[in-house]
C-alpha cells in the first residue's frame, strides 16, 4: 500500500474536454492511471480517448464506480465542481485549479467534511504514487518508486527535489502536493499521519514555504507523534514581509509565517532542515 492512490484508483477528470484537463488526462492514462471517464456539463455522450464523457458527476459515478476525481475546471466553476464530486460520493477529490476565492474554499471544505470526502488542493500539482498511478500534473520523469514520502506546498520545487532524489537513486512511495493556497483541504499533518501509518514509507520529505503556520503545526506533530525521520526545506527565507510571493498563501503577515520560525520549529521537532533543496537527498540517504 502507498497512500491515497494506487493502481486500483478509478479516476474521473472533471473538465476532461478542456485543454488542460484533456492534456493531463492523456498523460495520466499513459502513466497507467485508470481514467474511467470525464465530466463536462453539456458534453455527456461524447468520448475522450476511449473513455466516456458525462454531463454530471452523479451519472459518471453511477456508471463507472469511480472513487477519485481530478478537478481541472476554471476557478469560477471549481468550487461547485468539488462539491459536485463530494455530493456524488467521491471520497478523494484532487483540485488543480488556481485562483479560487478563499471564501468559496472555506465553504467547500466544510461541505467536503460533511460528505466524508477528502480534498487535496486546490492550486496543487496532484498526487503520484510512482509506478502505480498519478492524478494531476506531476511529470512522470521526476520520481521512481521507493520508500520516501514527499509532501509539498509547491509544484516545480517538488519536481526539483524529486528529480534530485531520483538522480541519487532514492525512490518515492507517494508524492502529495497539498497546494499553496491559504485554505486547503488537506494539510501537512494529515499527510504526515498517513505516511506515519504507511508501511511502505520509511522516511518523509516535507517541502514548505512562508505564510500561515501549517509547518509549525506539522513540527508539533513530528515532535509528538512521528517515529519516521523527516527532512525538510522551507522556501522564502529571502522573501520580504507583507508581500504575496506568487502563491496566494505565501505571505509573511503580522510577524507570522516567516521561514525562520518554521525552520526553528522543525529543527526543534527533530526534523533535518536543508538550506538548499538539492541537499534533501543527502539528508534522506
Amino acid at each position: 500500500m502507498s497512500i491515497l492512490i494506487d493502481k486500483t484508483a478509478r479516476v474521473l477528470v472533471q473538465g476532461i474536454t478542456g485543454r488542460q484537463g484533456g492534456f493531463h488526462a492523456k498523460l495520466m492514462m499513459e502513466y497507467g492511471t485508470d481514467v474511467v471517464g470525464g465530466v463536462t456539463p453539456g458534453k455527456g455522450g461524447e468520448w475522450f480517448e476511449g473513455t466516456p464523457v458525462f454531463d454530471t458527476m452523479r451519472m459518471a459515478v453511477e456508471t463507472t464506480n469511480a472513487d477519485v476525481s481530478l478537478v481541472t475546471v476554471p476557478a469560477r466553476f471549481a468550487a461547485d465542481a468539488i462539491m459536485e464530486a463530494a455530493d456524488a460520493g467521491i471520497k478523494l477529490v484532487i483540485c488543480l485549479t488556481e485562483h479560487i476565492p478563499v471564501s468559496d474554499m472555506m465553504k467547500v471544505i466544510a461541505f467536503c467534511r460533511r460528505h466524508g470526502a477528502r480534498l487535496i488542493g486546490p492550486n496543487c500539482p496532484g498526487v503520484m504514487t510512482p509506478g502505480q498511478a498519478k492524478v494531476g500534473i506531476i511529470p512522470a520523469m521526476v520520481a521512481t518508486a521507493g520508500n520516501v514520502g514527499v509532501v509539498s506546498k509547491s509544484g516545480t520545487l517538488t519536481y526539483e527535489v524529486g528529480f534530485a532524489m531520483k538522480n541519487q537513486g532514492i525512490g518515492i512511495s507517494t508524492i502529495v502536493g497539498i497546494g499553496g493556497d491559504p485554505v486547503i483541504g488537506t494539510t501537512f499533518v494529515d499527510v504526515l499521519e498517513m505516511f506515519e501509518n504507511d508501511p511502505e514509507t520509511e522516511k518523509v520529505a516535507l517541502l514548505g514555504e512562508i505564510g500561515g503556520s501549517a509547518e509549525i503545526v506539522a513540527a508539533d506533530y513530528i515532535k509528538n507523534a512521528m517515529t519516521k525521520p523527516v527532512a525538510a526545506f522551507i522556501a522564502g527565507r529571502s522573501a520580504p514581509a507583507g508581500k504575496r510571493m506568487g502563491h496566494a498563501g505565501a505571505i509573511v503577515d503580522g510577524g507570522e509565517g516567516s521561514a525562520e520560525e518554521k525552520i526553528l520549529a522543525l529543527e526543534a521537532a527533530g526534523a533535518r532542515v536543508a538550506a538548499n533543496p538539492e541537499e534533501i537527498p543527502n539528508l534522506l540517504a
Binding site: 506531476i138 499553496g180 501549517a214 522564502g236
Partner: protein, 386 residues
C-alpha cells in the same frame, strides 16, 4: 487588494455600521471647506496604505477651519514610508470614552472566518496579542451557517462589553460580517470602534483587504483600486499576467513556479549574502509561458537598474525545456540585455534545451546543470562587476 481608510469606512456604512460623517480632500482648500461644513474640531488623516502614519505626522487634530487647512497643506504631499500622501480624510472629532478592537479575518488553519475583538482597542493588535492575548476574544464563524445571533451575545458578554452597548455592538458585528462576506474580504477591521460619550458606537478607523482571487465578482471594489503605492514595474507585470515583486538585490530571477522562484531567490542569497549580493526580484513566469511573455518578463526585470545578472531557473515538467530555450532566445534577441545571464534548464528535454542555448553562442549567456551551480555562477557574475 487593500482599501484606504476612507474606502473601508464608506463601505462599512453601506452595511449599517456608524462612521464619522467626514469627507475626503485632495487639496488644503477642500479640507478647509469640509472642516467649515463639519464645524468644531476635526481630524486630518493621511490616506496611505501603510501602518504608523500617526507617528509619521500624518494624523493631526485641528480646532478650526484655519488649522485644518494648515495641517492638510503639510500632510498632502508628505512622504510616508515611501508613499506620497495624495488624499486626506477630514473627520469630525469624536468624544471617545472607550476604544474597542473588532476584526473578522480568514483563519487559514481552521479554514473558517475568525472574529477577533477586545475592549483594549486603539493599539496595534499584534502587540496586544503578544502582551495580553487573554484580552482578545476569538470566535470562529461556520463558513456555511454564517454568523449566528447567539454568537454576538456570547462575544459581547465574554469580552466584557457594557450591557448598554450589546444591541448596538451586535448590529456592528453583523454589519461587519455581512461586509466581510459580501466583499470577499480577507480582513475587515475596525480599530478603534469607539464608544462615545453618549453611549453610541462609532467606527473611527477601518481597514479592509479584498481577496484578489475574488475581484472578478467585485467590480465596484475593483474600481476603487489605488495603484499609486505600487511600483511601476509591478503594475506592468500584473497587467502582463506575471507575478513580479521588486526586491533590492542584484540578481534578476526568472523561474517557473512560485515555490521554486522563492527557492531560487533564497539560493542567490545563501551564496551571495556574505558579499551583500541577493535577489533583485521574485518572478514566476508560470507554466506554459510564451516567448512574448518571457520577453515581457525580461524587460520588467531589466527595468530595475540594480540588476547586474539575470538567472533563469526552469524545471521542465509538462513544459519542455527545448521550447523554453527557444522562448528565451527569442526574448533575448528582442530585448538584447547587456548584463550576464545564467540559464539553468532541468527536467523534460533539458539536454535539448541546453544544446539550443549553447549553439546560439551568445557571449553573455552561461549555462548551469544544478540550481546550486546556477546560483553560485550568478553571484560570481555580480561580484566580477564589483
Amino acid at each position: 487588494m487593500k482599501l484606504h481608510e476612507y474606502q473601508s469606512k464608506f463601505l462599512f456604512a453601506d452595511y449599517g455600521i456608524p462612521i464619522p460623517r467626514g469627507k475626503v480632500a485632495t487639496s488644503a482648500d477642500e479640507a478647509r471647506a469640509i472642516a467649515e461644513e463639519l464645524g468644531g474640531i476635526v481630524v486630518i488623516k493621511a490616506q496611505v496604505q501603510v501602518g504608523g502614519r500617526g507617528k509619521a505626522g500624518g494624523v493631526k487634530v485641528a480646532r478650526d477651519a484655519d488649522e485644518a487647512q494648515h495641517h492638510a497643506e503639510r500632510i498632502l504631499g508628505m512622504n510616508i514610508k515611501g508613499l506620497t500622501v495624495e488624499r486626506v480624510l477630514v473627520d469630525p472629532g469624536a468624544d471617545i470614552v472607550q476604544e474597542i478592537y473588532l476584526a473578522i479575518t480568514n483563519d487559514r488553519g481552521a479554514g473558517k472566518p475568525l472574529i477577533m475583538t477586545s475592549m483594549e482597542g486603539g493599539m496595534d493588535i499584534e502587540e496586544l496579542n503578544r502582551e495580553r492575548p487573554e484580552a482578545i476574544i476569538r470566535e470562529h464563524i461556520d463558513p456555511i451557517m454564517g454568523l449566528k445571533d447567539f454568537q454576538m451575545t456570547y462575544i459581547a458578554s465574554a469580552m466584557g462589553m457594557p450591557r448598554a452597548q450589546w444591541r448596538s455592538f451586535g448590529k456592528v458585528l453583523k454589519g461587519l460580517y455581512n461586509c466581510y462576506r459580501a466583499s470577499d474580504a480577507e480582513l475587515a477591521e475596525i480599530n478603534p470602534l469607539a464608544i462615545t460619550g453618549d453611549g453610541e458606537l462609532l467606527a473611527v478607523d477601518g481597514k479592509v483587504i479584498i481577496d484578489d482571487n475574488a475581484l472578478f465578482r467585485q467590480p465596484a471594489l475593483t474600481e476603487q483600486r489605488d495603484s499609486s503605492g505600487e511600483p511601476e514595474s509591478e503594475r506592468q507585470a500584473r497587467e502582463a499576467g506575471i507575478t513580479y515583486i521588486k526586491l533590492d538585490g542584484q540578481i534578476g530571477c526568472m523561474v517557473n513556479g512560485a515555490g521554486l522562484a522563492m527557492t531560487t531567490m533564497d539560493m542567490t542569497k545563501l551564496y551571495g549574502d556574505a558579499d551583500g549580493i541577493g535577489p533583485a526580484n521574485f518572478l514566476d513566469i508560470g507554466g506554459g509561458a510564451s516567448p512574448e511573455q518571457v520577453a515581457a518578463a525580461l524587460r520588467i526585470i531589466l527595468s530595475d537598474s540594480n540588476v547586474k545578472c539575470v538567472l533563469f531557473n526552469i524545471f521542465g515538467g509538462i513544459t519542455r525545456c527545448d521550447e523554453v530555450a527557444h522562448g528565451i532566445l527569442t526574448a533575448y534577441n528582442e530585448v538584447k540585455p547587456s548584463v550576464p545571464m545564467v540559464i539553468r534548464l532541468q527536467g523534460t528535454n533539458a539536454v535539448e534545451g541546453s544544446k539550443i542555448i549553447n549553439e546560439a553562442r551568445i557571449p553573455n549567456i552561461a549555462g548551469a546543470d544544478t540550481l546550486t551551480e546556477a546560483a553560485k555562477r550568478a553571484v560570481a557574475a555580480v561580484k566580477e562587476q564589483g
